[in-house]
Point group: C2
Chain length 221, copies 2
Amino acid sequence: MEIKLVRKVLEAHEALAGEIRADLAKRRIYSVNVMSSPGAGKTTLLERTLASLAGELRAGVIEGDITTTRDADRIARHDIPVVQVNTEPFGGDCHVGANFVKTALGELPLEELDLIIIENVGNLVCPAEFDLGEDDKVVVFSITEGEDKPLKYPLMFRESSACVVNKLDLAPHLDVDLAALRANIEQVNPKLAVFELSAKTGRGLSAWLDWLRARVSAKRG
Amino acid sequence: MEIKLVRKVLEAHEALAGEIRADLAKRRIYSVNVMSSPGAGKTTLLERTLASLAGELRAGVIEGDITTTRDADRIARHDIPVVQVNTEPFGGDCHVGANFVKTALGELPLEELDLIIIENVGNLVCPAEFDLGEDDKVVVFSITEGEDKPLKYPLMFRESSACVVNKLDLAPHLDVDLAALRANIEQVNPKLAVFELSAKTGRGLSAWLDWLRARVSAKRG
């Protein structure tokens, strides 16, 4: 009985993710699910990325948080269409689910978009387990978290297509071993595209932007 | 049917937490469940705390991680009895459950202990939802995560008795607004005991140690 119930819920979620994937494929909109621990710099990376791509790619953002609209407020300042999803009314879910994405897509001007960025709830564990119908998962990792974390939280690094190693500006003030961090990321997922940058200063951003541009172009066909 | 199933699982977990609580009460051992985002400095805080209390309080440690024994290895170097719990064989659980604690307690020399520290999986969301039979929950928060996080992840701050605000040594290199952080913590839980410190340098540690000593003494009676 227990197994049947869990299977039913997961199948419903996968069906919804499939619908999202099919709808965005038809529209040729590229979508990326950005995940990290709390405070690794997802929103700052988004702000910097959106400002850099303004006038070039038309982006929409889905902001996932347990509560508050703080991140959506930050994105809206850039004149980007943004939908805030709060999971708190649904038990404070620790991740964005396909149901939230489906609802949020109904609020975005899809005819006008090339790119949708989903900013997930800050959590290095659970969000990696859920298919949102997105083209890519990206993990943002702050070097303040320590070089051992890819080994300790491997699923998120395995499920992602790219890893943004953020807060490089703090490197001189930390004991973190960046070579060991690179080796640990490589050990967990040798196919991961890795971008070392500082979303705060903008240093190292261009390689990340090029990767994103290429993914959007490939989807457009 | 769904509600019944969820209730059954939760009731079994609560019953187990109750058994742990009763057993540790009988033995007059104080227990604390230490939680945070990945890389906020829980293990470094534990190492510093255990070194400071050596010869004064007899501590045992339960290390919860999805995978690896890295944290247990760090603690074992201090000649402290430590049990590593890996949640990966059980689906990579994003938190320590009462079942893990129950098993781990069987591996610790309880007759010789005043204090048990449970280091939870790095996750600012899910661990707050589970009663482990512990006396206190403590949230460790790194100032690198930003002053808005207590508002965005309120449950962990509400459920905790104390908050260790860590990595104070990095304050000069960050844009973080510490006064706003204090106000946000206070807004979410005005009863929280807050300790601002650097586990790395040891600055500010004594107030935290005094709080811990007082909790252990109260339990001993």
